[in-house]
């Protein structure tokens, strides 16, 4: 494949790759340079590594396992409101962590709806705290991602194949073996690796729902090294350890993933000829209902909880919303450009590289940038640009995961014709690639914008005298006992993250 990328594409990819490596490595190096005496990671840190691996592995496997039947049902069933269903069930992935935990507790907590129901049935209260709670929360966050990745895989199988299968009257088992299995082999490893990497960096969810120091993750160990012991060297070493694990997972997933062998189609409207009726139809229905409830009830709880608090919101909500939207749009634009550049070489190295930001602790990243900037200028002055940069890096893996395959597919399907016509460089991008990638571009930009909107991240590390973002405002309200207003702010945040994603996804249009 790599042979077909033009010199321009390779140059763009090379430049973006180099910039990425510098952006990721420089903060680590700087943190090491600044490190004084400290101690090496000991048994406590290895315990944290073990717990991190266990919860991330379980979360990744379960998220994908649950997403499989749901994505399949979505791919082959048509029902009124299907599009809305797809969008709504994607929402948890876009939720800020602090907000999502509130929603989960409203459903699964001690006074949550599940326990109300259990109480009616005379069953004892079910406690969410423990490893099962951590995994439940991670599945809630990440199953939507897995579902969307799988759904895209299913819709990428050319409609002609399914028509042919129907003409040949292939039984469902054969359709699975010949059409769906090759696609799954390509998509599932990537989904597993992405979710594994996301869960690896989990910190507050793991601690709050995990029930205490038992549930110490590497990211928390990094916090401890940095805040409690001020041991920058150990913080950087732990961050390196985390990157190593993610790099390993990325390599394994890229090895396992096989290119799609089903060839090209005409991109016509998909109409599934194989959707079997009878009990299979009922089962699909059950999966959709269950997934719908699991993913939307916490959102509903947040809405119900937040409406009352809307009236208590301070006037500062407006500038905070403005700042958040600005960061979010900037992040979407930057992330999409970077993803396009990294997709251009159509090489595994660039795709693998694009996953690496997932592997770096935002705390160490932020601290590293802080130390670098501090040489020349007071970092607080650059809080918003640095927030933008870190958010872009954090959103890049997801965006690239969507855009790179879409680019490769467009090239595989129509590249030869385009080359014969002498369509190269920017013209090729404009007339062949971008139109064929609309769905992925819209989705990718939406994810970047929404993730960035909800991120509290580095802005608290840098501190900013005047500039306030929406998540920061929510955090401040919580810190000032204003729980009702904070719920209101959470609702606004939810609506805005979701709204901006919906807007971009709509602009992208057709896929899904």
């Amino acid at each position: 494949m790599a042979g077909r990328a033009g010199p321009l594409g390779r140059a763009a990819g090379g430049a973006a790759g180099l910039a990425l490596v510098v952006l990721l490595v420089a903060p680590l190096v700087m943190t090491f340079l600044k490190a004084g005496e400290g101690r090496l990671p000991g048994p406590a840190e290895y315990g944290a590594l073990r717990f991190t691996l266990v919860q991330a592995t379980l979360s990744a496997i379960l998220s994908v396992l649950v997403a499989l039947p749901v994505a399949r049902a979505l791919a082959r069933r048509r029902f009124p409101g299907r599009r809305l269903f797809v969008t709504l069930t994607g929402a948890p992935f876009l939720l800020p962590v602090a907000v999502a935990v509130l929603g989960l507790l409203a459903v699964f907590g001690a006074r949550g709806w599940v326990n109300d129901l259990l109480g009616l049935a005379g069953l004892g209260p079910w406690r969410i705290y423990g490893l099962h709670g951590v995994v439940l929360a991670h599945v809630f966050f990440n199953m939507p991602l897995a579902t969307r990745m799988l759904l895209q895989g299913w819709s990428a199988i050319p409609a002609e194949r399914f028509r042919l299968a129907a003409t040949l009257d292939l039984p469902p088992g054969q359709v699975f073996r010949l059409l769906e299995w090759p696609m799954l082999r390509q998509v599932v490893p990537g989904a597993l690796a992405a979710i594994f990497a996301i869960c690896l960096g989990s910190f507050s969810v793991a601690l709050i729902l995990g029930g205490g120091p038992r549930a110490t993750t590497l990211e928390l160990a990094i916090y401890q090294a940095f805040l409690f012991d001020f041991d920058l060297g150990r913080a950087a070493l732990l961050a390196l350890m985390q990157s190593g694990v993610v790099a390993l997972a990325a390599v394994i997933s890229l090895r396992l993933a096989r290119m799609d062998g089903s060839g090209s189609g005409l991109g016509r409207e998909r109409q599934r000829w194989d959707a079997p009726g009878g009990w299979r139809r009922a089962l699909d229905c059950v999966w959709l209902v269950l997934a719908g409830l699991f993913l939307t009830l916490p959102l509903l709880a947040l809405v119900l909880d937040g409406i009352g608090g809307l009236a208590d919101l301070p006037a500062r909500i407006w500038p905070a919303m403005g700042n958040s939207v600005a960061i979010s749009l900037g992040c979407a634009a930057l992330t999409v450009c970077l993803s396009l550049a990294l997709s251009a070489p159509m090489a595994r190295w660039s795709e693998g590289l694009g996953l690496m930001p997932l592997a770096l602790s935002p705390l160490v990243l932020g601290t590293g940038y802080f130390l670098i900037l501090n040489i020349w200028v007071s970092p607080a002055r650059l809080a918003l640009p640095v927030t933008l940069l870190v958010n872009t890096l954090m959103a890049l893996p997801f965006c690239l995961r969507l855009i790179a395959p879409a680019w490769a597919r467009a090239e595989a399907d129509h590249g030869r014709l385009a080359s014969q016509l002498g369509l190269t460089g920017p013209a090729r991008l404009r007339w062949l690639l971008l139109p064929r990638m609309r769905g992925a571009l819209g989705f990718g930009a939406g994810i970047a914008a929404a993730l960035s909107m909800g991120d509290l991240g580095v802005i608290t590390l840098f501190g900013s005298p005047e500039r306030e973002t929406l998540p920061l405002l929510m955090y401040r309200l919580l810190g000032a006992y204003r729980t009702d207003a904070a719920s209101g702010a959470a609702l606004v945040l939810l609506a805005m993250s979701f709204g901006i994603f919906f807007l971009f996804d709509r602009l992208g249009g057709r896929d899904a």
Partner: protein, 325 residues
Amino acid sequence: MKHLALATGCLLATQAVAETPVLNVYTYESFTSEWGPGPQIEAGFEAECGCDVVFTGLGDGAALLSRVRLEGERSEADVVLGLDTSLMAQAKETGLFAPTSASADYDLPIAWTDETFVPFDWGYFAFVANVGEDHPSSFEALAASDASIVIQDPRSSTPGLGLLMWVKAVYGDRAPEIWDALSDNILTVTPGWSEAYGLFLDGEADMVLSYTTSPAYHIIAEGDETKEAVPFDEGHYMQVEIAGKLAASDQPELADAFLQYLLGAEAQGVLPETNWMYPAVMPEGGLAAGFNQVVTPDKALLLSPEEAQSLRDEALAEWQAALAR
């Protein structure tokens, strides 16, 4: 030419601003928020100093200290406000802070002798619960009961660290045993105070680690008398919040004046109902009536900064070992 004129204009504007001295104060996030003491104290001091006070909010006490250490002598901060005595020895060891001339006649349950840091407010840690329930009156009684509690992680939160010191101050070498007995009461541990308090308000747990003055917020600001702090017979550990001047400050006199203002009647009068802590110097009119309704412990506990510093690692290890099981 136009560009040149514009550039000159900018330059002049910058110089005009530079004539007003700027005092940079680093503090924790909730101090500088709209509902915290920050805005009123800023306005009050600016009215008398002819300077510009700029608050920068940064996480909590531990994040504050890390930040100053990261910046080192290049820090733009003149004053750091919001460390506590558990962090004080560590802060002094950095050598980044300078002695201050600010002082006052403190109304603290302890004698204050340090010359680098000034205490500006204080409170007692306590478990907060709903009124009307039966509450345990000591850690041992709590461990024997089936009450559920939410606490904060000492690695990422100052109240969490305060609780470690509290148990250590009361039980000394028996601390591991107490943590072991408490482990089945601890519903969960949160990274910071606000998550824990939120869980408690949502009804997830019976009690939460907070301050004896927390119910005063509910009484005064919300007219809600359903929350109370639970008195422990063995005494309550104190949190004394401190502020200090940085040695590398380019405005040392202004920094001293600010610290003195912080201890004055005006600022001290603002603190109780914005930071929900006791003032270090009692204002003449006393406190709002809501504060009279809260529990005042019979016995105040506080380890010296040096003791707290030397016990920190050991206490954390004991806590981790007991709760990891």
